[in-house]
């Protein structure tokens, strides 16, 4: 039996995209391993979510218990540890997300199982499961081969593949909760919403986005002048918000915002996948970066390989003239 158990992720009553995306790879791998892809849902009040997942033509196993109302790594580790013993899946797959990264490495240590983290592709070749990962600012891919093990643990990158279309109706089966205790050591307290600033960049028509390539805050006028000339709002990468050049609510990416302006001008941004995830939806993307290998160019419509400080002031001047 080579079932691939996919832990569907959800938060505040909503399934997360990665839950569906994993179904783009799990069924094929499961087939090669002589089993099937099975979805696992752990939570409280899971009926609707279970039905939705089953709509992808898979069997959905549900552990439904008020104890799992909110994600808690300690509880998840306990439940999954018990379920691995019961179900003996060939692969346990979760998102490489704030949830997945918070318990999968601990689970791997506890059960002495191998882990491939932040996987972007999976293949089963000649009896060996292989995970593709991305490293070094996205410039190098690595293939990791698992040595034979009872269960392979994989965390899968959100946005690495496209979710499949919903298919035939699958089935839903409730499991007994193998872990009913409370955990004394870690407590979920509450969700805290991010602060709201003066501009909602998800509504902007044009965004001028800056990254670490801006170097220091005294260079801000260079981009502010461009933004003013074309009535754009300023946004940026995490590096730019961490440095305090722009407020936190202007951060674009997985831990920031997903934006969809008609024009996105990225300068001095390398294009880490966490950033790309937030701006791929822009209609037209312009990237200015002095590194020709920068991953930002993979999503750009117009690309300039050059020093932004040589290009941007001139660009601003020209755009003002053309008005």
């Amino acid at each position: 039996m080579g079932n691939v158990l996919v832990l569907a992720e959800h938060r505040q009553g909503e399934l997360r995209d990665v839950s569906f995306e994993m179904l783009a790879v799990a069924p094929a791998i499961a087939k090669d391993m002589g089993g099937e892809a099975v979805v696992l849902l752990v939570g409280s009040g899971m009926d609707d979510l279970a039905k939705k997942m089953a709509g992808y033509g898979v069997k959905v196993l549900v552990v439904d218990d008020p104890n799992f109302e909110n994600f808690n790594a300690e509880k998840y580790q306990k439940v999954l540890s018990a379920l691995i013993d019961d179900l003996k899946p060939a692969v346990l797959m979760t998102g490489h997300t704030a949830q997945g990264v918070d318990f999968m490495p601990a689970l791997a240590v506890e059960k002495n199982l191998p882990l491939a983290a932040d996987t972007i592709g999976l293949a089963y070749e000649d009896g060996t499961l292989k995970a593709t990962r991305s490293m070094y600012s996205g410039k190098v891919n690595a293939v990791m081969a698992f040595k034979p093990a009872e269960t392979y643990l994989v965390t899968f990158r959100e946005g690495a593949v496209e979710a499949p279309e919903a298919a035939a109706e699958g089935s839903v089966e409730k499991l007994d909760n193998p872990f009913t205790d409370d955990v004394p050591y870690r407590k979920f307290v509450e969700y805290v919403e991010a602060e709201v600033g003066d501009v909602d960049i998800t509504q902007s028509d044009i965004l001028v986005a800056i990254g670490r390539g801006l170097k220091e805050d005294k260079n801000l006028p260079v981009v502010e002048e461009l933004a003013a000339a074309i009535k754009a709002d300023l946004a940026g990468s995490r590096a730019a918000t961490d440095a305090g050049w722009i407020p936190h609510d202007r951060q674009v990416g997985t831990s920031g915002k997903a934006v969809k302006p008609k024009l996105y001008i990225a300068m001095g941004i390398s294009g880490a996948f966490q950033h790309l995830a937030g701006m791929k939806g822009a209609k037209t993307i312009v990237a200015i970066n002095k590194d020709p290998e920068a991953p930002i160019f993979t999503v750009a419509d117009y690309a300039i390989v050059d020093d932004l400080f040589k290009v941007v002031p001139k660009l601003t001047e020209k755009l003002k003239e053309l008005k």
């Binding site: 070094y136 410039k139 995490r238």
Partner: protein
């Protein structure tokens, strides 16, 4: 407050061309500049802030080559008290579970309230070492932390979730926290600190010194094999605008204007 902070010496590849060596499993890092991993820099700052607020002592722990001592001294200059550098090429460095086991071996037996790590190393991107380390040490953990408040016998932290949402979590001490970038503003090392750092204790240890059986953290113990590295095809459909910087700017301006984009 006794804190350990784990830091890694990593190459800066954000602007560099990366080439895979003929062995297929390492990259040519001879021309990279190395420094402290971004998130670890914030972890160092957080450990020093905790010490300033609650007293105690901070120990720096790093596994890495001799040349990484510049980085370690810099952390000492910022206010950390002493350091341990593990150097042993028998550790399977490609597997965060083996790295975690080694770091745990260097911590075991010591008393601590908190171990801080970065949430992700910018070279290998595993985001796994800190959480694995917690399990090895048998203590609580929280990952992707961007706020820490020490309470009586416990900590309240904010974990960063996707989309800007945070999760407040309480943990009993001792605990491991993996620190996210942006949690604080890392300081520059003061001149005085830099001088003092030279005199602070920096122990260099091997697996044998730590009493770790190399068999338990080496290539044979690791259950994953790094089979190969390769440069992914860059599929760009972008129109690359050529010319001198000024020409490029002019061409782009007219494209944007003609396309009705501005």
């Amino acid at each position: 407050m006794k804190t350990l902070v784990c830091i890694k010496y990593v190459p800066d590849t954000s602007e560099a061309e990366v080439k895979v060596n003929p062995d297929g499993i390492t990259v040519d890092d001879s021309r990279f500049s190395f420094d402290i991993n971004d998130a670890d820099n914030y972890a160092v700052e957080e450990s020093v802030l905790l010490k300033e607020a609650h007293g105690g002592e901070v120990t720096v722990l790093s596994m890495g080559p001799k040349k990484s001592e510049v980085m370690i001294r810099m952390a000492l200059a910022k206010g950390c008290d002493k350091a341990v550098r593990v150097e042993d090429d028998r550790v399977a460095g490609h597997d965060p579970l083996m790295v975690a086991k080694t770091l745990a071996g260097a911590i075991k037996g010591q008393e601590f309230d908190l171990v801080l790590t970065g949430c992700m190393a910018s070279d290998d991107w595993h985001m796994s070492t800190g959480v694995a380390l917690a399990e090895e040490l048998g203590v609580n953990h929280a990952s992707m932390v961007n706020y820490v408040e020490v309470m009586d016998g416990k900590v309240k932290v904010h974990r960063e979730l996707e989309g800007g949402l945070l999760e407040a979590v309480e943990l009993e001490l001792p605990a491991v926290l993996t620190i996210q970038t942006g949690i604080n503003e890392p300081r520059y090392a003061p001149i005085r600190g830099i001088r003092q750092a030279q005199k602070k204790e920096l122990n260099v240890v091997s697996l044998d010194d730590l009493g770790i059986d190399p068999e338990t953290v080496g290539m044979d113990a690791s259950q994953v094999v790094l089979e190969k590295l390769y440069i992914p095809e860059v599929e760009s459909t972008a129109e690359f605008i050529e010319g001198e910087p000024e020409e490029k700017a002019e061409k782009l301006a007219s494209i944007l204007q003609k396309g009705g984009l501005v």
